[in-house]
């Protein structure tokens, strides 16, 4: 399927979604709760022009990115270890299970003590996202082809090369699936925690304020922005993945070409 067709389908299904909203909004006909598209986009234009708009956006993005990076790194490293070593996996199990189970609400208090209120979204995002990433990688490691591992060990392929040439490429689909799921969750958790803790800047903080003032159209236009952020995150991720794959193949090809020229 070519690019244009892809984008067309995406466009149409997005339009379909908007139309669906409009239809329901018209039939429900209670603007305080479900405004139609007109007011939402008007509010969107208005707030996008506001002076603190970039600040709020940036604050949320930074929070999401920070927790994303922390989760991806810690989840991947621990997942790699836990997938290979059953003892480590068992030792981590109670911690992961606890993280998986502890309701965010009951740690927010603790988070308040240990961190400043701006860090609470980070903390709760970590709690929600870490198990997803960790389990994903752990599972992926368990699914690695033992035949290839055997080959690598027998041929004394150094650990670094084994990681980059064998393990990581095979883990990539798990890593990508995990990262996407994690990122999608992080946006939500960060915004939800911002709504709860109202840091000075943040999409969630603005939502909370608009909600208290019953400006549903504003709430929804912030929601639209959140959706756009998520979609951009996805796009970015897909871009990075295809870039890495292409770069890898170009680099390998270049090295072969350079080599052939010399010998």
């Amino acid at each position: 399927m070519n690019r244009t067709k892809r984008n067309l389908i995406l466009l149409f299904s997005s339009l379909g979604l908007l139309l669906l909203w409009q239809g329901i909004a018209k039939s429900v006909d209670i603007p305080v709760i479900m405004p139609s598209l007109g007011p939402i986009f008007r509010a969107l234009g208005f707030l996008a022009g506001g002076p603190s708009f970039p600040l709020n956006l940036l604050a949320t993005i930074l929070r999401a990115l920070r927790s994303f990076i922390i989760i991806v790194i810690s989840g991947t490293v621990l997942g790699l270890i836990g997938g290979r070593n059953q003892t480590v996996s068992l030792i981590l199990k109670p911690f992961v299970t606890t993280l998986k189970a502890t309701p965010v609400m009951s740690v927010i208090l603790l988070a308040f003590i240990w961190f400043s209120s701006g860090s609470v979204p980070l903390f709760s995002a970590f709690l929600m996202g870490f198990p997803v990433m960790y389990l994903q990688i752990e599972h992926g490691v368990r699914q690695l082809d033992p035949n290839l591992g055997e080959m690598c060990d027998l041929y004394d392929i150094p650990p670094k090369a084994k990681l980059f040439y064998c393990a990581l490429p095979s883990l990539a689909p798990w890593f990508v699936a995990g990262s996407k799921a994690t990122l999608s969750m992080i946006w939500k958790v960060v915004i939800a925690s911002e709504v709860l803790t109202v840091p000075r800047y943040g999409v969630g903080s603005r939502m909370q304020l608009a909600q208290v003032q019953l400006q549903t159209d504003v709430v929804l236009s912030w929601t639209l922005i959140a959706i756009a952020l998520t979609a951009l995150g996805d796009l970015f991720f897909e871009g990075v993945v295809s870039l890495v794959v292409r770069t890898r193949s170009t680099v390998q090809r270049r090295r072969v070409d350079a080599l052939l020229k010399r010998f």
């Binding site: 305080v32 208090l109 709860l196 109202v198 909370q208 909600q211 208290v212 003032q213 019953l214 549903t216």
Partner: protein, 289 residues
């Protein structure tokens, strides 16, 4: 001679509990606004706040849990109303209906239970409570939309609903009913608490803050428009909402000794309802400064 306490940290919650602090004009008081009582409580327990404005029952609860605080003053009296989203209703229509309450264990919830008890009605049989919309703002939204029939709400949401929805009407003034049933004029909804350590280490600074606070309450009540601007600047609530609500919020300043009887009486009522709601026992005289 007393040492300089440095910056005095006062924690208030977003919402009407924080209104009365808007007129504080002493430069060494740092007002921090928090979205929920939880954060205030954590900081108080932690020693990161010297003073805080809190719901009355939370103060008792904290005190009973061994957090070193004292009740300095009552700063807000009752301001709850039972609203119906359709006009022409009567209190009797509530029988068998569902009453929405913003948050289990909140003051509206406790008040609703008290009234029910006094009326000899049973929740789950004569009337049904629904907590599914915990945020008062959202409840207000649903009332305006007519999706919810009855709700017990605090200010400023009461005025908000009444302003925006022509059909909505106040069915009950909870304060009036409370007075009628108990003989006590009203009930204290929010109080100013001070950490025990601060009060005993810096008594004169503390007195200065209290005096300032009293002035602040008067100023806010007297200048709603100016106060509303200040309230918005502090991040407590939006200007438009605050300005309309200030007259209805029953902001007062009653020193601990003045208010002690009313507060104790209120605690006794809550205790009879559920001892855990105030931490297991009615606090003695030591709570009051």
């Amino acid at each position: 001679q007393e040492a300089d306490p440095g910056t005095i940290r006062l924690g208030v919650m977003a919402g009407p509990t924080g209104f009365s602090s808007a007129g504080l004009d002493q430069p060494d008081i740092d007002i921090e606004v928090f979205p929920s009582p939880n954060e205030v409580i954590a900081r108080l327990a932690n020693g990161e706040l010297d003073m805080a404005a809190l719901p009355t029952n939370v103060a008792a609860n904290l005190y009973n849990k061994g957090v070193g605080i004292r009740l300095a003053a009552v700063i807000g009296n009752g301001m709850l109303s039972l609203i119906s989203s359709k006009g022409g209703m009567d209190v009797r229509d509530l029988y068998g209906a569902t009453l929405h309450l913003p948050g289990a264990g909140s003051t509206p919830d406790q008040m609703a239970r008290l009234l029910l008890k006094w009326a000899d009605l049973v929740e789950g049989k004569d009337i049904f409570f629904d907590y599914s919309v915990a945020a008062p703002a959202q409840l207000a939204q649903l009332l305006i939309a007519g999706k919810v029939d009855y709700a017990l709400l605090p200010q400023p949401f009461v005025s908000m609903v009444l302003d925006r929805s022509p059909q909505a009407a106040q069915l009950l003034d909870v304060q009036a009913l409370y007075a009628e049933l108990t003989g006590s004029a009203t009930y204290p909804m929010s109080v100013l608490v001070v950490s025990e350590k601060f009060a005993s280490t810096y008594p004169s600074s503390f007195r200065r803050v209290l005096a300032g606070y009293k002035n602040s309450v008067d100023w806010v009540n007297g200048n709603p428009a100016l106060a509303a601007q200040k309230i918005e600047d502090l991040g407590i609530m939006a200007k438009t909402l605050a300005q309309n609500a200030i007259p209805h919020c029953n902001l007062v300043y009653e020193s601990a000794s003045e208010a002690k009887d009313a507060v104790t009486f209120y605690f006794e009522q809550l205790y009879s309802l559920d001892p855990s709601s105030i931490g297991g026992s009615v606090p003695g005289d030591e709570l009051y400064l």
